[in-house]
Symmetry: D3
Subunit: 237 residues, 6 copies
């Protein structure tokens, strides 16, 4: 029995609120249990220096937690003058995941920035960010198409992400914070709707893990992601 009563292969309730703020071209409040992330997509008519004049666009992400998104208050990064290492790692992961299935030439010379701000954290903030950012990116692209700025939809497959891990010897899907803090291996997986792999990041905590268990986690994640994508499609259509 898990701390919140779920089954081992059970996701937490997923809630998606689109247009949560009024300015952003795509704005999604994603809630996965008590984890709550605001994902805003902003379109700008410029590209980073390394892409100037190359006729393609760019998608990038920024990730931050509010100081009191967690049980104890964290000092703001700005007061230390630089982004913390964990956030740096996560926002690079989000950016790569979003670009992996995207046709950047379809965007024209535009940059879409996905701001993922964690308002409340209870495990799985990076995967919730990826899933929410993908929907916000979808809405921003839709907005560009509706205004005739771009001609075709820049991707062909939905992408979502989930975490899983080994807790007290059992493989569990969608870890909450309490589970995450004691897990022996955690895995973050990003997959497309046809079950292909976009990104796998898996870390053993304490001791190495057998290949067998690693593969079981991969299966669990795959199942969870298909479930999430179904829910998103229901929401979007």
């Amino acid at each position: 029995m898990r701390v919140d009563g779920r089954g081992d292969r059970e996701l937490r309730p997923l809630k998606i609120t689109r247009k949560w703020t009024k300015y952003a071209e795509g704005s999604v409040l994603i809630e996965m249990g008590d984890t709550r992330v605001l994902c805003n997509a902003s379109v700008e008519d410029k590209v980073p220096p390394f892409l100037k004049g190359m006729g393609q666009g760019w998608v990038t992400a920024e990730y931050q937690m509010l100081p009191r998104a967690t049980g104890t208050r964290n000092q703001r990064d700005v007061s230390k003058g630089k982004l913390n290492g964990r956030a740096t790692e996560i926002q690079r992961l989000i950016g790569r995941s979003l670009r992996s299935t995207l046709d950047l030439t379809a965007l024209g010379e535009r940059t879409i920035t996905l701001d993922c701000d964690v308002l409340q954290a209870d495990g799985g903030t990076r995967t919730a960010s990826i899933t929410g950012a993908f929907i916000a990116l979808h809405d921003a692209c839709k907005c560009l198409m509706d205004e005739g700025m771009i001609e075709r939809y820049p991707w062909s497959s939905w992408v979502a992400a989930i975490s899983c891990g080994i807790v007290e010897g059992k493989e569990l899907l969608d870890l909450c914070y309490e589970e995450d803090s004691i897990c022996q291996m955690d895995m973050n997986v990003v997959m497309s709707e046809d079950g292909k792999i976009v990104e796998v990041q898996s870390t053993a905590e304490g001791y190495p893990v057998e290949r067998q268990k690693f593969l079981k986690l991969l299966d669990l994640a795959s199942e969870g992601i298909q479930n999430i994508i179904s829910q998103i499609k229901e929401e979007i259509k």
Copy 2:
């Protein structure tokens, strides 16, 4: 007739949601029209170096806007390595306002930090932050009393804030962004429930303003603040 149809002396709808996040000792989402600020109060058992061993507490504030709280995206301060000048000015104002009516010795050697994060900005974010932070501070103090950590309530009077300004020659209460961006004088006022002055900041834009008009703004603000404090008391009791 104002851009949003209000009368000159009319506030925008005020909505206060307490316990908006689950971790903070006080957590208030304050909405003033489309302006939306999350005010979290965090209690920590330490004081800044200059107060160590002096048997009193401290209250401080931090203010930030999410990158897409506004019509166009603003770069995060952390990527520039330091807080922007406007936010610096505002968070100092919030901190001073909250401390002005507080008995810091009642807190013991504790610091309460008020994080005011603007999720959506439509004018008056600094005054909404002060009003919201005061409620979050109230809830955090209540929480300390309920747990027996402090013995008495650290203040005697409610405090709230509002902006007003001269727009196209008319004195208006509670400016929205569109009004704020063209006003000839703007004024931010913080007052206690008995109508006394905690802080006044008033700036002429373009040309100096007659004393008469300045005083009229002060009256407008006073009226607005009494209205807000009534609504808060209704909410809290």
Copy 3:
């Protein structure tokens, strides 16, 4: 009786030395009692990015205290990598005050930067900076006119500033440091020569203040500023 023997409505001796350094287009050493600020105006043929091609100029200010301008030495901001919050707040105030009565289009695409460096601090450094910077700005504009760079004088009214406050229940003009450190409300006022308001910043320390006393401070400041402007006109003509 005040600590330095002055009457309640009495200014400290004001001394203005123009051309204190030889390079700056305007260079004023302003002394207000023991407060001593060097205000240098530098003209540059460029404008900030947000004004490029708009056919107008810009006026901005920077404020710093030398490490030993005060009773104990303060660490330099550069060694902490960023300007302190107080200086940030003050230099924004100086810049706004100078721009409030200025016709920026008369400057052409030029920036005038007012560097206000406090060499010795004894209360009222921000208001002395505004008053001194205004004179340095005047001299720099005069210099531009003499060289035929600009055609008309960019303003129509003198501006000056003063502080006042409530100390041990009494309203006092032009606080020195010893008074400032114990005052119940302090007020910084910027006004034009015709008695109109450019900026008011007033903060209660400890407990809120009655509207009546606030207005009395405003009158005191008004009187002091007219006095200062008379002295400046004597000096300049």
Copy 4:
């Protein structure tokens, strides 16, 4: 046929030079083809604040490339005031990998820092760093045991790392830079000598990858790592 004539499952020549510098407790120059990383282990009698008084040690890593380790010169991070995102991500990976099989209580209250400085980069610098750092860590621990500072060896299993990837549709082991820059999926794997998984990081570039191919990469990496560990044991014994 690969760019450097190797077979698909063939490692580049591995060369390990221990005691490359004279001061560090462990100092290893690891060369994997033209990739050349200096891994220095430094022992210090202190732990980070979060471990103080907990009777255990800590192992951490720092990773940097010399400006001209690559084909074109990169600006030093110090001149930008902060570590770049890629290095941040990599040094976190190295630290986690080294700690994964380590008994930190065996170290006592000591920190061992592994500095991985890339002197020349030709692909696989992060995995070479992990492998080299593990040997330097071994030598530093040996040194501590020889001096009677610690009583037992703090780990039970060797760990090493390798990269692999899909290039033009083929799964290849140990990518050089030319291969890495065009691969469709790259995978970095850290494993223990008994074939268990410490860390897997795998990223699709361009389009998602079938589970089948992902597993084939995992096998390739596993084989490569066993080969590397054999070579290390030969070197160390």
Copy 5:
């Protein structure tokens, strides 16, 4: 004939004003021609970490130019987040020079910081800073002795500094800015009153210089420094 009419071996007028500010334990405004540096000595009852508990004091220096000390305005270092390289180099030189003849144990566990702020620059600011700082240091030590804080005078010999250089083939003493900007070799020399060498820094600009000419510069500097020390002794006694 030199640009300001001086002879080749002639110093510019030297003016020393002690107690220029009222707070610092030693405060000297030194003027060497149009070069004007404020040197404040601050005594603090603490030492840097590397000297804690070693029963000795420390002397250090900080050097900065005001933004408009020069013909064109320089951006403040704080806005770039770090001290510029030239100032770093100079303040290290000042600190070393002051410590060279000082008995740091005589100070007890105190730090004296010499802030050298260039108010107006016309060549030779670093050597004027050393000379002025030495006098400020003297006054601060005198003040410590008068208050019975230290028992003996911490040095035995006066120290001063001067610049010289080769301009259009001629060796000149005490270069002004116009000469300095075109010199073929410049030399900064710090010497004690008995003609011994504390520091020599000499740089060829454009092409190397014969040993003979180098020695002639050294003689010129030696003569100039004795002259300066005579003037200081006259002033101090």
Copy 6:
């Protein structure tokens, strides 16, 4: 007898390895006893802003020590957000020395950056850097000539550097770390092959030094530099 058995006027063994890395246009590993510096020269087709359009090139240097180049580990500068003062001073010295005999117009609008990274430090790292950087610069220029990018060799004379100092009353050439840490005066000298002076930096530690001894050090350095230049010419021809 010196700590490493050398005579007073004896250099440590000098070893120069060219093309130590494969990417840089000039790459030299210079070893002077146990001091080991990697000097890479990188050519870029751009000049700093102050030289744009002036038809000449630029040569600059950067200097850093690896964290464990020394007996105890030093924190990386990047983690403190800025280069340390000592490295700032040294890289300015290296840059000036290299430019002193160079015809920058012969380079065209190119910048050559010399990265001097100290891999192991045992005294004399700054002078070894200058000597090594000069050879790397030579190789980079040779490379530009071979490719027909520049027409003539940009200098006419070899330049090298050495340290010397007074240790326990004796003048010694080429100090190792143990000697350097206790010397009464240290001197760093840069000279051309015809014995002219490029740069002299000499600092007394503890007490001032007689002119006589200063000149003896200068002679020692001169002799050492001629010896080094002979060895370099042997290596290069």
